[in-house]
Structure formats: structure tokens, C-alpha cells
């Protein structure tokens, strides 16, 4: 960027900065960024199909280990651990699911001794939903599980969950 110091007067200390290249660059950059801008703010949640109907030789047998599960029904959410059958029922608060209480219970389960090493399913959770439950509730359950620290989130049919919930 060119500069002219004290142009015509010896006592002048004014500096004339040539900002034309700067404006040129800014204009080009603005035009480019406006053309290439992506306005849709989309992201993803990674999910694995889970359930008892998917045997895999590489995976340890889920029947031998404690596994966390969530069942979403029309009226409430059940959070539980398989094998030990520790189950918490979180009823709806007015018309909305009480995600705060679900999160607290998931957090408690995550810190429990059942979901610690060497349990290969310590970071895994299965989510099942009854027929009329909306997709937003399922995604919020996945979101809450991820926030608590369950990195391996799976979706399965309600009757295929490791924890047997009584409705």
C-alpha cells in the first residue's frame, strides 16, 4: 500500500495512504464469499442400527454386559440399565418430556460402576420409541445421550431393547 508523506508542505506530517488496492481486495473477497456462502445450517448425528437381531462376530455379546437404554412412549420416558434392571420412569411435565430429569438420570447411570471399564458397552446406549412418538423427541434423546457422554448411540425397535421395560 503506497504512502505519500508530507506532499507539498515541508511542515506537513499528514500521510496519504493509498487504500485503493485494499478496497479492490475487499470487493473481490466480498463477491466471492457471497457467491460461495452456504446459508443452510445443517449438521448430523451419527447413529448405528442396534437391537438383538443384529449378531456380529466382532462385537462382544450384549447379554453378558450391562447396557443403558431409553424407551420413549407417548406419556413418559423410561431410562434403564439391562441385566441389573434398574429402571427410572420420567413422566411428561405437562405436555413436554422432562429432558432435564432424563439427563440427570443418564448422568447418574453413566457414572455408575456398571458402565465403567472393562464394560465394552460403557459408552453405548440404545434408544427405542413407540409408534406415535415424534422424530424430534428421538433426536432430543440422542442429543441428550451424546451430551452426557454416550458416544455410541443406537436406535432400535422398542421390543429389541436390552433393558426390558414394563409399560
Amino acid at each position: 500500500m503506497g504512502a505519500a508523506v508530507g506532499t507539498d508542505d515541508k511542515k506537513s506530517v499528514n500521510v496519504d495512504l493509498n487504500i485503493v488496492p485494499f478496497i479492490d481486495l475487499m470487493s473481490c473477497l466480498t463477491a466471492f464469499l457471497l457467491v460461495t456462502a452456504v446459508w443452510t445450517n445443517l449438521a448430523q448425528i451419527k447413529i448405528k442400527p442396534k437391537g438383538q437381531g443384529q449378531p456380529s462376530a466382532a462385537e462382544p455379546n450384549p447379554q453378558e454386559w450391562v447396557k443403558a437404554s431409553i424407551l420413549i412412549t407417548d406419556n413418559d420416558i423410561h431410562v434403564g440399565l439391562s441385566r441389573v434392571q434398574e429402571i427410572v420412569r420420567v413422566p411428561k411435565d405437562k405436555n413436554d418430556y422432562n429432558w432435564q430429569v432424563v439427563r440427570e438420570n443418564l448422568d447418574r447411570f453413566k457414572k455408575s460402576s456398571f458402565l465403567q471399564a472393562p464394560n465394552p458397552f460403557a459408552n453405548a446406549i440404545e434408544i427405542g420409541a413407540e409408534d406415535k412418538v415424534l422424530y424430534q423427541a428421538i433426536v432430543t434423546a440422542m442429543d441428550t445421550s451424546l451430551a452426557v457422554g454416550f458416544k455410541d448411540v443406537g436406535l432400535s425397535a422398542p421390543n429389541e431393547l436390552s433393558t426390558k421395560f414394563t409399560r
Binding site: 475487499m26 456462502a37 452456504v38 443452510t40 422424530y135 433426536v139 440422542m142
Partner: protein, 202 residues
């Protein structure tokens, strides 16, 4: 042509003192000093904003009109993969109509598979595997697949058996479960649920 006396001249008859810096009060100076500071300020703010929202991966997924995605805070960046869309009136795969969600919702049978979608998914996976085999002959790097890692990063997910599920937030779980089970039966082991970013997350 008759000669007239000169008319009003800019910066002479009309001084525009707020625009022009008339040097030394001489009438012939015509230099105009435009104040471009607000322009530069605006450009700087605009460029900063656009750089912040810039995405190097480009637009991977386009949401259909009338399709409202669910919101989530914990999320990963999107990847390119075949897209299954569950809208209110149609289930499509790569923009081809597969089934009607209302029919599935009203179907009392214990049938869990969506036959058209299953066949299309299997065909897509087989076509992918043929192409992958051809590619891996020329590029050994393509053979690498860390699918078996316990917790692979999103960019490490194997492309084989990877699909994006884009569903309306009001989709009933019955429809979602059937599509999900169909994908599972067609050996799609990783599904990416497209969501709207909401607030701070990972």
C-alpha cells in the same frame, strides 16, 4: 451561434463545500474528497461475517421445501452420502419416490420392511461395492476402511453402508423405525441423521 456568458459551474457557482476541499480558496480546484471510511467499515464487517460462515465443504445437503428438520446441539459436520428423505407425504431415496408415510402409518401388519426402499438400497450398495473394487485396484489407499474402530470420527466412517436420513421433525417413530430397519436389513450400518444446528454444541 450566439455567445452566451458561462452558466453555473460545479464548485464555483455551486460550492459543495461539504464535499470538495477547495485548496487555498482558489476557484479552479476540482478535487473531491469522498469520505470512504463508512464504506471500508461496512466492507470489513461484511467480509468478517462471510468468512465466519464460510464452509469449505460447500452445500452437501439441500432441505426440501416444507421439510422441517429436528434441532440438536451435539453434532458433527455433514458428509456426502446417499440421502433417504422422509417428508410428510413421501419417502424418497436419491430423489426417487419409494413409499408413502401415511400408508405405512395406517398399515396394521407386523411387516417392518419397505420393499421398494430395500431393493433400491441393496442395488445402491452393490453398485458402490463394484465401483469401490475398481478404485481399490488402482488406489490402495481406498482399501483402508476403519469401520471396525469402536468410535470412528465422522470423517473416518466407512462409506460402505453409510447413508443420510433426512426426516421431518413430526415424522412418527413407526415410519422412522420401518425405514431404519429396512436400512439395517440392506446392510447400511451407519446412518447419519440430518439435524438443524441449535446453540453451542461439540
Amino acid at each position: 451561434m450566439p455567445v452566451h456568458s458561462s452558466g453555473p459551474r460545479l464548485y464555483n457557482s455551486i460550492p459543495f463545500k461539504h464535499l470538495a476541499q477547495v485548496k487555498g480558496g482558489r476557484s479552479r480546484a476540482v478535487n473531491v474528497a469522498l469520505n470512504i471510511t463508512p464504506f471500508v467499515d461496512m466492507m470489513t464487517i461484511l467480509v468478517t461475517f462471510l468468512l465466519m460462515v464460510f464452509s469449505a465443504s460447500g452445500e452437501i445437503l439441500v432441505t426440501q421445501k416444507g421439510l422441517e428438520l429436528p434441532d440438536a446441539t451435539n453434532k458433527d459436520l455433514l458428509r456426502r452420502a446417499p440421502v433417504i428423505i422422509i417428508a410428510r407425504d413421501a419417502i424418497t431415496f436419491n430423489n426417487e419416490m419409494m413409499a408413502d408415510p401415511i400408508t405405512i402409518m395406517n398399515d396394521p401388519s407386523p411387516q417392518w420392511k419397505v420393499p421398494e426402499l430395500y431393493e433400491r438400497l441393496v442395488a445402491e450398495r452393490q453398485a458402490f461395492e463394484v465401483n469401490m473394487r475398481k478404485l481399490s485396484n488402482t488406489d490402495p489407499e481406498k482399501k483402508k476402511c476403519v469401520e471396525e474402530k469402536p468410535d470412528p470420527k465422522p470423517e473416518e466412517l466407512c462409506l460402505r453402508g453409510l447413508a443420510i436420513l433426512q426426516a421431518d421433525k413430526a415424522t412418527p417413530a413407526k415410519v422412522l423405525n420401518r425405514v431404519f430397519m429396512t436400512a439395517k436389513a440392506a446392510d447400511y450400518k451407519n446412518l447419519l441423521f440430518a439435524v438443524n444446528r441449535k446453540g453451542p454444541g461439540q
